[in-house]
Each structure stands twice: as structure tokens, then as C-alpha cells.
Amino acid sequence: MLVKVKEFETFLHNCVKDNPKEIGQVIAACQVPVNPDSRFFIDIKEGKQLCLNSYRTVEPTRLLYYFTREQVEPFNRSDKKRIIVGVKACDLSALKLLDKALLEDDFQDPSYKYWRENTILISSDCQEFSSVCHCTIFDGKPWAEDGFDVNLSKVNDSYNIITGSSKGDFFIELLKRFVNISEQSSINQEKVKIKRQDYYNKLKEKNEKYTIESYSDLRVQDIKNWNKESKKCIGCGACTNICGICYCLILNDESTDDQFIKVRSTDSCQLNGYARVAGGDTPRPQMYDRFRNRYLCKFDYVQSKFNTYGCTGCGRCIEACPAEIDIREVVKNVKVVV
């Protein structure tokens, strides 16, 4: 299916107004004037400037499904759906892992489940990169192949649209009421393919010096190397808080006299109090220990538990680090004998 970019964006801007019964909110990747190089997820009812075909947003999609702070018991629900537009392939991989951890186990996180079920997720191909993007190391691609409800690939002044679920079909039905949709030509399909391959090659070349092999066997590396690599780390926890995957939580009891209320908020293994037990003992009192734990968690513990790395190569942790620590460099250097 083909739709004009302009018409599609107008539809998104008016979506809540035009479909008040079905749609409660539209969140899209946008560009803001004060920070033109970064993209942010914004509730677009105010008519923001969309930026769907660039690289991933500053904040991870995870935070739209697993909030920094959220009441989980009792949990209030609404019937309306929300739409998130401009999600990238790296974040779709992250959601896939979160599904395994939070839905496919013998428990289900009630609010994550609710947001997953009640969100129409629209992904779009990356046609720009950030300097820290490195999904190709993890076999990722700058476009999505599954995990979306609808995917957009921009060619000239149009979007090639494909659907990936019944929620996607529902969205197309809504779209059809307001926007003219034409069939996709095979020439167009070919253009999408060529464009994707072109961006993939560029990204791969940029990350040439890093290999997936350096991410294995981190557990057995000399502790001295970890110590050296962590010297710059100030333990602020920015890397885990901005991560597309990290889902560690704190469960607070905020009960009233009438009912038990549980609130979950995010936690970071980089903070000293993270693993502290009653009485004050902690298994990781040193910074290098906590620093190392993050790498082991992502590339060993998560890997052995879920059979996939706890990193999608979005590079947000590199961007967020005040000490300019690069996760790619650390895994490479920690294997170099000092």
C-alpha cells in the first residue's frame, strides 16, 4: 500500500479528534527546534513536527510500555487504544526480549501486558544514523522485519505501508476512511529494497572494527581489566536508565488504610544500594564490580536465560554517559591483556 507522507501525517495529527471512540493518544517521533539532532517521542496533539525516518529517539520505546514509575496494583485500564509512530527496529528487538521476560514466563506484569495489547505500534525504516548506532553487530538491521503492527518505508514523497498484525489491519481501516491509499508498485518495492541495503552497508562499515565475538566470555576476563575500564565510570546509572532493555525494578508499598497499593519504579544495578540486603551487606560494594555486572548481565546472564543478548546496539548508553564510556570499546578492551 502507498500513501502520501503529507496526508499520512495530517491523519496522525487529527487522529484522536477524528476517532475519539477508538484512539486515545498518538505519540510520534518528533524533532524539536532546541535540539535538532535528537528525536523525541511526543504526544502530537499539539501539532509537532514529525521526524519518522531518521534514527531512534533519545528515550527508549521501553519507557512507553514500562514507565519509570507506575502503579501496578491495583491497575486502572481504559478501552481506548494509543498509537506510537516512528519506532525503530532496535527497539522492536528490545520489546521482543521484554515480552519474553515479562509476559511469557509463569507471571505476567499486568501493566506491561495492558500497554502491549492496547498500543498500535508503527515502525519506520532508519534513513539516517546516529554516530553511536551499532545494531548491525547484533545481526540487527536498520529496518524492521517483524514485531510491528504497521511498518513505514519512505520512498520519495510516499510511504510504503505493510501490516504485521490484526491491530495493523484495524489501523489501515481507520486510515482508509480519511486518506487515499493506492496499491504498491513493484518498482517501488524494489526501491525500498535498494535503499535498505544501502543504509545497512553504510552502518556495517561504520562498525567494522567491532565483532560479535568480543561479546562472549566476558565473565572470565581478568578483574584488573574491568578495574581499568571502569576507572572513568561515576556510577550515575544513566546507561541503565536509558537502556532499551534494562527492566530492573523497585517495588514500593504505598498502601492506604483501605487497600494495598504497589508502585513499581525503575532501578539501576550501577547504584551501590541496588543489591544491598537487610543488615547492610552488598555483594558488589566496589564500582568496578557493579560496572562489570552490567556487562555480564547483558552478555552472559540474559543471554543464557533468554537466548539473546541484552543489548540491541541502539547506542543510547553511549550517548547518555557523562564520562563518554563506549560499550563497544569496553568489551573490546577488556579482552586485551594489560
Binding site: 496494583e73 507471571f107 565473565r219 527492566y247 530492573c248 544495578c269
Partner: protein, 275 residues
């Protein structure tokens, strides 16, 4: 877990409180709906508007009309648990985690080592087995505490010694002046020398401070117990109890979900199991 929603909290009313030692007390509660659990499993116990902590019931496994928790005052939440009164409501989530496979131990000679407040889970285990004592060949229960005043369940221990097939030995690290003591003064591992050990194919359980479990395990191995027959309770921070918060991760295991009861062979290569 009966419910897929792990955050569901069951209110439970405190109907009795027993002070066991200066720092340890037992609270007995009646949950609003049954809270069935198997011995070794734990519950997240919450004090409203204060917080939660993981505690293994010290009462025998049951359908959960009544539960007992023996809790040491050692941090923020436990301090508030110690401030509760009869009639107060606390919250229960769970039950979570692994259990002691007591049905697989039928016909065996079971050795239990419990130290300090680690007596709580082992009391649950011991009493659950005593309920069907005919099923077991023997139960040897080695009990330790720092001082006689720190020893909990004193009166009950007297009664337990009278049960047939049960042998109980108790020891303290030291006896301060003025305190009376009728047991041994030594480490719990020393008590092993005083009992007839039958390590072959039999289970041994240790629960107590990490240092006790560490040296207890090493001693049991020396006596010839198999790694897969040594049961340990891992003490880690467990916020959620169901394998979501990741605070208790031990390699591919969660202490809360795959434990807290582990056999030694499973976790011996994981990092910092004694810390």
C-alpha cells in the same frame, strides 16, 4: 503462582505475636483467603506504606489458613514488622520460589543444620516432615545460635527431642556470664562429629548466615555428601519474588524463582554465592 498477576496482595490479620529472642519475633497471621505453600517457599510480606521483604513461613506447609513468620529485626522493613501489634493487617504476595522436595526424601535419613534466624525455614521443614514422620528413616536436627539468649524456639526444641526417630543437638558460639546453657559450646559444624552421619544418597539441609552455610557445605562435602544432595538457602535481595526485578540474579538463575532453596551442584560455579 496461582494468579498470573504477581503483584496481587492478600491482606492477613496478625492474631498472635511471640518474642523469641531480643531481636527475633514470630508473628502468626490469618490471611483473608487461603495462602497454600510448600515448605521452603517464601512470601513477600508487606507492612502497609512501608515496604516488603521476602520471608519463608516458619510454620509447616499447609493449605494456608494460618501462617507463622519468624523475623529478625535487621533493617527498615523488619523494624516496622517488629512494631506491629495483634490485630494489625499485613500483606502477603506469593508463594514464590522452590521448595524442599520432602516427598522425594521418603525412607531417607535427613540431616538439617539451622543457625540463628535460619531456624525459621528449617522449623517449617522439620515440622512438615514430622507431620508424616513414618515416611522418614530419621531426622537429625543440628541447631546453632550465637548465645543462649539468641537461641529461638527453646521450649519447642525440648518437645521436639521427644519425637521418635528425631535426634536434636544444639550449640552456641559462646555463653556470656550469667546465662544458662545445657547444650554444646562450639560451631554447628563441630556437632557433625557427635552424630552418626549417613551421607550416602541422603539429603542434608543447611540454612543460616552465609558464613555458616559456606563452612557447613564444605564440611558436608568432606563427610561425603553428594553436591546434589546438599540444600542451601540463598540470601539475596528479592524485591519482586517472581523473577522480574533482577536484583537476585545468579547467572542464569534467579535466587527468588529458581531458589531460594538450591542444591549445591546447581550454583557452585555462580559468582558470589556466599556474599
Amino acid at each position: 503462582m496461582a494468579d498470573k498477576n504477581p503483584f496481587k496482595t492478600i491482606p492477613a490479620k496478625i492474631y498472635e505475636i511471640v518474642d523469641e529472642s531480643p531481636l527475633i519475633r514470630t508473628i502468626k497471621v490469618k490471611p483473608e483467603i487461603n495462602f497454600p505453600f510448600q515448605t521452603g517457599q517464601f512470601a513477600e510480606v508487606s507492612v502497609p506504606n512501608i515496604g516488603e521483604g521476602p520471608f519463608t513461613p516458619s510454620s509447616p506447609q499447609s493449605f494456608g489458613f494460618n501462617l507463622e513468620f519468624t523475623i529478625m529485626k535487621t533493617g527498615f522493613v523488619t523494624e516496622h514488622i517488629h512494631k506491629t501489634k495483634v490485630g494489625d493487617i499485613i500483606g502477603l504476595r506469593g508463594p514464590f520460589g522452590s521448595r524442599y522436595p520432602i516427598d522425594e526424601w521418603k525412607g531417607k535419613d535427613v540431616l538439617i543444620m539451622g543457625g540463628g534466624v535460619g531456624m525459621a525455614p528449617t522449623r517449617s521443614l522439620f515440622l512438615s516432615m514430622v507431620d508424616n514422620i513414618d515416611d522418614y528413616n530419621s531426622i537429625t536436627f543440628l541447631i546453632a545460635a550465637r548465645t543462649p539468649a539468641d537461641m529461638i524456639y527453646k521450649d519447642q526444641i525440648q518437645e521436639w527431642s521427644k519425637i521418635q526417630k528425631v535426634k536434636i543437638l544444639k550449640a552456641v558460639d559462646k555463653v556470656p556470664e550469667g546465662e544458662k546453657w545445657d547444650g554444646d559450646v562450639c560451631l554447628v559444624t563441630k556437632l557433625l562429629e557427635k552424630v552418626k552421619i549417613k551421607p550416602k544418597d541422603n539429603p542434608a539441609v543447611t540454612c543460616g548466615p552465609p558464613i555458616m552455610m559456606k563452612f557447613g557445605t564444605l564440611e558436608l562435602l568432606k563427610y561425603g555428601y553428594a553436591e546434589e544432595n546438599i540444600y542451601l538457602s540463598m540470601e539475596k535481595k528479592m524485591y519482586c519474588g517472581h523473577g522480574q526485578c533482577r536484583h537476585c540474579v545468579m547467572g542464569k538463575y534467579y535466587a527468588c524463582k529458581d531458589g531460594a532453596v538450591f542444591t549445591y551442584d546447581k550454583i557452585k560455579n555462580e559468582e558470589k554465592i556466599w556474599e
